[in-house]
């Protein structure tokens, strides 16, 4: 294997693999990327056996000799980003060494034979559906934060992707809060029921979607498909596949309350800033704050036996009965951070029932967040 390629292009290829390679795996090969020079382009692939990405680079690439080799993903990436020139030559030397040459610099990196690299999943006959990168990205952003990190609740370690002939719905929950984003859509993606996309795969998907949004894409270039127990995302030059989480996503419909009796309207930025300030004095992990709702005002309070206490009043539109309720401020801030409207609407019932948040105008149509209170 021998090829010349632009440093920027190679860096982009390697960047796509960094989130996927396993840093602490018992299988060293999984910390490697597979470099393949074939048909006039360089293909860089990485996998952790659940996720796989392959990135194809014909641009600014000249293959001098076809071949393949696996090398440490992290080391090659760090080297490439530090290279002095715009161009780099990669060459496989004896004993699976990779020679990296750029201007006056020369590196010889220990590699592993390409044959040791796990076979990448090959998917035949996938029915792909066009997706709009900006819309899908927004739906993921609006749900991703609510995904559970608790590995014992593996069925919550991802976002539920539920298409129907009328609407596409994404839902995530960690058992304490839930986030739902939906958009009109006529495609069922060939699915009979919803599937759970894993957190790590979504993280990579977000990056690729953001790349697409930034780089600008032609309609029909970005596609998502499902086959067997995998989801496959494709854009020109890159393909990402992820194994779906097997398990039953809980019935989210039953935990979304109907319209609450106490409806509060409050400025998004103001509430976000207040929560950020007041939660500075909350007890560490849970960021507990108390909300005291009265006519026209919302008082936000925090108390920490070791540090002290804080309070702030926020003007709100509210005419109902007074209510005191506790929340994890972070759960509220996560929601406010993805709301686009100037105002948010908070619906409450009592101090032990879930609160519901919606954006105040059509910019946040289809977005619902549910947050369970804390006992105070």
């Amino acid at each position: 294997m021998e090829l010349k390629i632009g440093v920027a292009e190679l860096s982009k290829a390697l960047g796509r693999s960094q989130g996927i390679v396993e840093k602490k795996s018992t299988m060293p090969i999984l910390s490697h990327v597979l470099l393949e020079a074939k048909k006039g382009q360089l293909v860089v692939s990485a996998t952790d056996l659940d996720l796989a990405v392959s990135s194809e680079h014909g641009e600014s690439c000249e293959v001098l000799k076809e071949g393949a080799l696996a090398v440490s993903a992290r080391h090659l990436y760090e080297i490439v980003r530090a290279l002095p020139e715009q161009q780099v030559t990669l060459k496989r030397a004896n004993n699976n060494y990779l020679e990296v040459r750029s201007g006056p610099s020369e590196f010889r990196i220990v590699g592993l034979p390409a044959e040791d690299f796990p076979a990448l999943p090959r998917f035949e006959k996938v029915t792909f559906t066009d997706v709009k990168p900006d819309e899908l990205l927004e739906m993921i952003e609006r749900t991703f934060f609510a995904v559970s990190n608790d590995e014992t609740r593996y069925n919550l370690n991802g976002v539920y992707f539920e298409p129907s002939p009328e609407v596409l719905r994404l839902v995530a929950t960690d058992g304490h809060r839930l986030s739902l984003s939906e958009r009109p859509s006529s495609s069922t993606f060939g699915l009979k029921r919803g599937v759970i996309l894993p957190k790590k795969g979504l993280q990579e998907l977000r990056k690729l979607l953001a790349e697409a949004v930034e780089g600008g894409t032609e309609a029909g270039e970005t596609k998502l498909g499902f086959v067997e127990n995998s989801a496959i995302f494709r854009r020109p030059g890159v393909i990402l596949s992820m194994r779906l989480i097997e398990g039953l996503f809980p019935d989210y419909r039953q935990v979304i309350p109907k319209q609450g009796e106490k409806v509060v309207r409050v400025g998004r930025d103001r509430l976000l800033e207040t929560l950020r300030r007041i939660s500075l004095l909350s007890t560490d992990k849970a960021h507990a704050v108390k909300l005291e709702l009265g006519k026209g005002t919302l008082r936000v309070l925090s108390q920490n036996p070791d540090l002290g206490e804080a309070k702030e009043e926020v003007p709100v539109e509210y005419e109902g009965e007074p209510l005191k309720i506790g929340f994890n401020a972070r759960y509220l801030m996560d929601v406010l951070a993805v709301v686009k409207s100037a105002d948010v609407q908070l619906e409450l019932a009592d101090d032990l029932s879930p609160g519901v948040l919606h954006g105040g105008d059509e910019k946040d149509q289809g977005f619902t967040a549910v947050v369970m209170p804390m006992r105070i």
């Binding site: 058992g175 304490h176 809060r177 839930l178 935990v255 994890n328 032990l352 369970m372 006992r375």
Partner: protein, 402 residues
């Protein structure tokens, strides 16, 4: 040894459980008091010095103790009382240093190196603590003072009861030298016998024996460790109080139980005790462990992780009952135990669960919570069995434990 010389205290309450019983019931003072499991298969937890004269020792089967000391006063343990007093005593220790490492309810190491400037030398501090514990709690505590943990602990043992033994600075090796090797940690009967063959009977002998000779008797790595200890080198620090890592209850049955129904009854009662202790300590945990010891002493444990930290009797019981499915319940069982660990942070406990709320509406959860609180109050005032679940009501004479 490296670094500045340290001053370490080892403090051990004399015949603690038995002393507490004598403290609470003055009629028992001067009489042989033996605290132990009441069933015929229980063991002695503590024996007063009066009882020790008859040869009664901790960990001896109660039945044997009865033979040795037929006139002894045999009492079941009251751990709630012991731990309350223990807390009072440890609070006194903490007036002198924050570096208090509890070893059990009645035993602790204190590092008072930094406290000397304020409170005087190790001996003065130990004497002050002894006086305070006597005056405020009515209990005798034995103290050992030394530069290392090992020597401090041995010093305490030598001075018991109500003793205060100080190993002078730089004198650890000399202090240890005349003592039998069996006093060292890690020297059990087997090692002791192997050393005796080398002519090593005292700790001093051990210090003088060449490494090579020791290594052939006890292995290379033990040889190095033993020699270091013999020379008084014990670099271990006093590690301050670590919060409890689990709360549990277990029970050795008077007669072996078998069958799921019988075991579930025992577990229900144990889950209740664990729940009560968790709530008393203000804790809630994610991990529930079931322990089953069969009549042939084989032990199995099964654990499960709950999505939500719990301190609720019912939730704990449901979790262990599910684990019971995973063990053979038809073999005769000698002991079962229930414990909860993986404690949630204080704040996390206040967080309500979305799905639990949907499944069991909040009023239900709240009802359970207030029921638990009410029962806890009754149990504190009238004892653990003041109120019993109907399905446990015909049980009595159960053995309590810690």
């Amino acid at each position: 040894m490296t670094g500045r010389p340290r001053t370490i205290l080892h403090l051990d309450l004399d015949a603690f459980y038995a002393s507490v019983e004598q403290l609470d019931a003055p009629s028992l003072r001067g009489r042989p008091v033996i605290v132990g499991g009441p069933s015929r298969r229980g063991v002695v937890c503590a024996a007063s010095y009066e009882a020790r004269r008859f040869g009664v020792r901790s960990a001896m089967p109660t039945a044997q103790a009865r033979k040795l000391c037929p006139d002894g006063v045999f009492l079941p343990p009251r751990f709630d009382r012991y731990s309350a007093l223990s807390e009072q005593v440890f609070a006194i220790y903490r007036r002198y240093t924050p570096l208090v490492e509890p070893l059990s309810l009645d035993e602790a190491f204190l590092d008072v190196t930094a406290s000397r400037a304020l409170h005087g030398g190790g001996r003065d501090i130990a004497a002050a603590i002894k006086r305070a514990v006597r005056a405020e709690c009515g209990l005798a505590v034995s103290a050992g003072v030394a530069e290392v943990k090992l020597a401090a602990k041995i010093a305490t043992d030598l001075g018991k009861p109500d003793g205060l033994v100080e190993v002078p600075e730089g004198g650890v090796a000399a202090f240890l030298a005349p003592l039998p090797v069996g006093r060292l940690w890690g020297v059990g009967p087997v090692t002791e016998a192997a050393l005796r063959k080398l002519g090593v009977t005292t700790i001093g002998d051990l210090g003088r024996t060449p490494d090579a000779a020791l290594a052939t008797a006890v292995g290379t790595s033990s040889a190095r460790g033993l020699r270091a200890l013999a020379l008084g080198e014990d670099p271990r620090d006093v590690v301050p109080d670590e919060a409890a890592k689990s709360v549990g209850a277990e029970e050795t049955f008077g007669e072996d139980l078998s069958g799921r129904a019988a075991l579930e009854r025992a577990l229900l009662e144990q889950a209740g005790r664990v729940g009560r202790r968790l709530r008393a300590a203000g804790l809630a945990g994610h991990v529930v462990t079931l322990k089953v010891k069969y009549a042939d002493f084989t032990l199995v444990t099964r654990r499960t992780t709950l999505a939500n930290a719990t301190d609720d009797d019912r939730a704990i019981f449901e979790a262990v009952r599910a684990q019971l499915e995973r063990v053979d319940a038809e073999r005769p069982v000698r002991l079962t135990g229930v414990s909860v660990s993986g404690f949630a942070g204080e704040a996390e406990r206040g967080q309500l669960d979305l799905f639990q709320a949907a499944l069991a509406p909040p009023p239900e959860v709240e009802k359970r919570r207030s029921l638990n609180a009410a029962l806890d109050v009754l149990a504190r005032r009238f004892g653990d069995r003041a109120v019993t679940r109907a399905d446990l009501a015909d049980e009595d004479g159960r053995e309590d434990d810690g």
